[in-house]
Symmetry: C2
Subunit: 280 residues, 2 copies
């Protein structure tokens, strides 16, 4: 597993790095960022927080705008931010911002031409963790996962499908039920085909209905988010959690929108919430 | 004085705005950002921290990467980030990144063709403060100024030339003596002509040698900064301050470079330092 260092910068006492590697899952080069907190420089293995990004994003958006390093340095957390899709001239794309490049939806596509490269579930759930374990001072027995919008969907579904892997899961303005909203319907039809039964393992609310469980979930959602009513629909997660007996902390934030100005405001809260559970 | 709102986003309990206006000084539209902390929403006037950016930057770099909102919200500080030059097709430019657009050096140019639009000293020191006072809940009796690299030069020289205006001045990796380094020699020759006597009022070290004073100065400087030895030369500021009896707190930061990963790490420190002096 070769890993190329694109850049490293000292920040908040730790090292913010960007790395590239040829991916066996996507068949392309993939770029991701890792923040290693100061505690790890002394050789101590530290817990890992995965952050999955939203539509149109690369690793760079949260790395530049997420404001996570100060809290990660204090709490001793490694912070990993993958890309949202395969990239490159060989990779098929769509005219919309919400399908194809920048919009992998954390699924393993089964439909041509997407199935060759769009294997983001296997990439994020299997290949990248192996790479992190091999190359960084990561305590892989202590992992947490979070994400924004499409990445909130990714975080919720990966936590639900890999019981015990993540000590905690949270999300910022997540797509909670892609099978029932336009973004998800377009993406899941494209990547998985029109048989809606195949969609259920990529839909957090459906996974919970079908029996998947996590200990609890933290979600922040702004009221001024343009996508709230049509694409995000947190009430569908609330209903599923309520029926399943999963404690859901759903914080409704007055006046906040869908941007990184919202995410960065509540990033520290989420990291403290994860750190508490990672220490148990 | 008309002011167009480009965007506003709720963040860290306050409002991060971006605004545009036709400038009488530059003869162009100018864009800047303002963060108004939560304390001001209740109608309370709050102190202002000016942040002047470095080469190639617009208002957007610090607005996205500066990590200042959390501390400004806690301390009740308004944070203003101007652009670094006039913009537009009518504005002359240079092939280099270090002269012309994105490189106004906070001077009023006297040489053609620059003198028509490149009036960044008057813009930042006079026009923009009038606009801030008229449109925002700003206590203009309590102002502080800071900046990065070329903007550190701007902060130091504006504080030295406007005694009493700023309660405090600090800088991140500033150009402290532009008349004695390549970036400054190119820019000052271009904007002001070859008579070096005219350069002294745009050179912090020279201003101090010529009698200008501030109560004290805080500077952070990384040791892994590529521009340290040739362009920044903090020892020239240290010598001038030492001779003049100005207390200079020069913090040398092991392993930090010239990027926003460095600035964002020490932003909170600087804001606390300013807040203390603004409260006196």
């Amino acid at each position: 597993m070769t890993l190329e260092t694109v850049s490293t910068n000292r920040s908040h006492g730790g090292i913010q790095g960007v790395y590239r590697h040829p991916s066996r899952e996507t068949g392309t080069d993939m770029t991701f960022s890792v923040f290693v907190p100061p505690q790890a420089e002394a050789g101590e293995k530290r817990p890992v927080v995965w952050y999955l990004s939203g539509l149109t994003c690369t690793h760079a958006n949260v790395t530049e705008k997420g404001e996570y390093r100060r809290a990660c340095a204090e709490l001793g957390l490694i912070f990993v931010a993958p890309d949202t899709s395969p990239r490159g001239d060989d990779v098929p794309d769509d005219e919309g911002y919400d399908f194809g490049k920048g919009a992998g939806f954390y699924v393993d596509a089964t439909e041509a031409p997407w199935s060759k490269h769009f294997r983001m579930e296997s990439y994020v759930a299997r290949e990248l963790p192996e790479l992190i374990a091999a190359h960084f001072p990561a305590d892989m027995a202590r992992q947490a996962i979070t994400g924004h919008s499409m990445g909130g969907h990714g975080a919720l579904t990966l936590a639900l499908k890999n019981p015990g892997r993540f000590k905690s899961v949270s999300a910022f303005a997540p797509i909670v039920a892609p099978a029932r909203v336009p973004w998800g319907e377009k993406a899941l039809t494209g990547y998985l085909g029109s048989d809606r039964a195949a969609w259920r393992r990529y839909d957090a609310a459906a996974l919970i209905e079908d029996g998947a469980r996590v200990p609890d979930i933290l979600v922040d959602q702004g009221t001024a988010d343009n996508f709230l009513a049509e694409q995000l629909r947190p009430e569908l997660l609330a209903e599923a959690c309520d029926k399943a007996g999963i404690p859901l902390i759903l914080r409704v934030r007055e006046g906040y929108d869908h941007s990184y100005y919202f995410i960065s405001t509540f990033m520290e809260d989420h990291l403290r919430w994860h750190a508490e559970r990672l220490a148990r």
